[in-house]
Amino acid sequence: MSVLHFAILLPLLAAPFIPFLFKGMKQIHTGWFVLVVPVVLVSYFAGFIPVTSAGDVVTETIAWMPSLGINFTAYVDGLSLLFALLITGIGALVVLYSIYYLDKDKESLGHFYVYLLMFMSAMLGVVLSDNMIVMYMFWELTSISSFLLIGYWYEKERSRYGAQKSMLLTVFGGLSMLGGIVLLESMVGSYSIRDMVANSGVIAESPFFLVAMILILLGAFTKSAQFPFHIWLPDAMEAPTPVSAYLHSATMVKAGLYLVARMSPVFQESPVWLWTIAAVGMFTMFWGSFNAVKQTDLKGILAFSTVSQLGLIMSLLGLGAAALHYDGIDDNIFIVATIAAIFHLINHATFKGSLFMMAGIVDHETGTRDIRKLGGLMTVMPITFTIAVIGSLSMAGLPPFNGFLSKEMFLKATTKVFSADFFALETIGILLPVVAFLGSVFTFIYSIMLFTRTFMGEAKFDQLPKKPHEAPIGMLISPVILALLVVGLGFFPNVLSNTLIKPAVESIYPTLVAQGQNVKVDIYFWHGLTPELYMTIGVILLGSLLFWQMNKWMGIYNRIPHRLTLNGVYDGTLVWSNKAAYRFKDNYMTGFIRSYLIYIFVFLSGMMLFSIWWFDMYQFSFENMAEIAPYEYVLGAVVILAALAILFMKSRLPSIILLGVVGYGVALFFVFFGAPDLALTQLVIETVSVALFLLVFYHMPDISKKETRMRFKVGNAIVAVLVGVTVTLLSFMALTHKSLSSISEYHIENVYDLAAGKNMVNVILVDFRGFDTLFEIVVLGIAALGIYTMIKFRTTRRTKGDGANEAKQQTRQ
């Protein structure tokens, strides 16, 4: 195990010690011990920056299941490293924040940090695995740990609902992704992502290309909360705020983006890839921002905002695929889309993390997150307010923050579609900048709303559950660091250009890099009077106008009834599928044995008749039949008549007697067919069973002794005739088809020489095939013991006129 593997698994290895630290060291907040892990990891991963910026990669392999081609291959390139740094960096800040956010005496911190560490390992595993099966394993581990974290306050009903919803949706996507992985493996013959990238030509020509792509994308879309799977994210806000900040804004929801970026080299030659991702991402961006405006909960706004921003990055990753269709890198205008995606990914992690922590502080200090109750907090919480303003303005895409830069690049990438001349980008593609513009307008509105509604306006402190005051310094450290990053990246964006962004972009375009082309990342404020600048001005103007006139148009949100919203559809599907499953089950699981017998018999006949017809086996001849003696006719008629007569008897007593007639008739048949042993046994057994029948009849409750003829039911008659015909047909056919001679010749020849006996039946029973007999007598013994225990060891003794009797009679009717 290399150091790299150890680093990936370090949080998981540390997790088992957490409960002991929590129980043993009550006086110290457990978070301090946990904090060591991400801090160590972030410094370790920072050490890789020189390696990746030089264009090198690090690969370490542990054989796990080599025979299946599943090995734990850790692979560090620009993209992985960027994510690993985000995970560990934000992880450290979130752990620090949680130390002040979660009370060590009231919360079960042991659980919290175990889940969090589990998640951290899982996330590192996702971004650093080269083997797709291993990646899938970590992927599901993120789903599970996220489920546990959302349901952390499991006494709350909303928490459980949110946890279940996110679990169902992300696991649905995860399983689809597994299907995609298996398909890709079948095309390439390897689970390694690098092998898939190297063989992208093979994959592109495969008939399953589209299926594999859609399955992989389903995984990415559900995880990254893209339309229409975004609905789990707002409900996941029931988690503690550090969790929301960490999982549901900075890391886990970006796993889908990571997957799309990682798989881009495999799929991006295809126009379907570009269009699916760009369209879904763009619409998600619009829909998320549109819905964020109507939220009244701070974290609700942030959740929809996250959805929107993820959509933005997703669409940029889609548009980035267009870069492959240009030859020269210098005028390769679409590379800017990918650069923007990576840059915005970093920016979003910084400002969204700080905003979530801000929301947590407001919640913690005032007792509510409802923006209708909040207001005027600016004076009492100045630092939090500053953080909120910086974060919100960066999110809205205003200068001088980093959000402005990436938003400009986003608008630039979308306007580039005008100059493209492939994939119908120049025609339908016009929709992209339009939707992007509208989405940006709503983004502007909710960003402004976020801090004006919370911190400005009139103060209503008397209505708040707690008296508000500034948060403790420890809680402010993390958001302040993030806000400083927001500002710092805004002013000095090129700090990261060559260290983080360029290697990440290069790993998305391995083919371009292989051609010796160089990705140039140069981010600066002033582009000149470009279309995107006009668009930004337009966003600010239109956004301000709409924000000012907000009360007039808010009504449109109430137009959509709950049933037609996606949440309504989700809830409805759950309820409906549950009901449908019950109804389906109730329809055939009637509880009546006669229904089950009908299924069994109909299935039996159906299968038999179908296979007779399907394999064209229908043939029989009477050639090898023996002569039928007259007395056999007579006996056959007697047996048939007796059997038929049972059906028409009014009372059960004659039925039992007639059954005896059939049995003795069969014994006589044995006599005719030369089977004395069988005849003897049949006679005695028939006698015993008739006696037992009579005994049962004697003890039957009086009411069911009533003399009624069996009711005629057409269905039953048809099934009975069907089964009879089937079995008869089969027996005739079996006789006709008999192709091998019987082994009885051997028995006849050797019965005396080998077994010193002359009664062949008995010799077979005790000698040739004594093993069967041994177990038949065991069966008899079990039956006797069963009867003995059933009768002797009744725990409840039935008394006369007891309820049990009556209940039995009622079910009979």
Binding site: T681, V684, A755, D767, L774, L785, I787, Y788
Partner: protein, 145 residues
């Protein structure tokens, strides 16, 4: 089987049963021993013996029968199973597969030269099990209320 509330004087039945009982038992033993050469064997022999016992049950009551023949039929079943199993197992000691029978001619003191076959031991197991099972069932059902 079901005990009558008032005693019935059935001398003829009882007297006849006692005689017939021995005939049936001897017949059943014959069936059992003849099994390897002519129709019969452990199964039918066991059934016949239990039929004889049932006849006694019909003529007398179960208390009388258990006094005359103090047999635990469940133990009998177990013994039968054990004998059958042991017959199967014995061949393992002679390095043969499970349930390989052995036979040979022996000069017995009173009976003269006779063929002895381990299959008869196996059949004895079957015989005992069948009697044990039949009688357990009939006794249990008969004694229950």
């Amino acid at each position: 089987m079901k005990q009558n509330s008032k005693r019935v004087n059935d001398v003829i039945l009882q007297t006849a049963s006692i005689i017939i009982f021995f005939i049936i038992v001897i017949f059943s033993i014959n069936l059992f021993f003849a099994g390897h050469y002519s129709p019969g064997g452990g199964f039918i022999g066991g059934l016949m013996t239990s039929a004889a016992l049932v006849l006694l049950l019909l003529a007398f009551d179960s208390n009388t029968l258990s006094k005359v023949l103090p047999i635990d039929y469940r133990l009998m079943t177990a013994t039968g199973l054990l004998i059958a199993l042991a017959t199967g197992l014995h061949s393992l000691f002679f390095d043969r597969p499970f349930l390989t029978h052995a036979y040979g001619k022996f000069d017995l003191p009173l009976l003269g030269e006779q063929t002895l076959h381990t299959a008869i031991a196996f059949d004895l197991g079957v015989y005992l099990v069948v009697i044990g099972v039949t009688m357990t069932i009939i006794q249990t059902i008969g004694e229950s209320e």
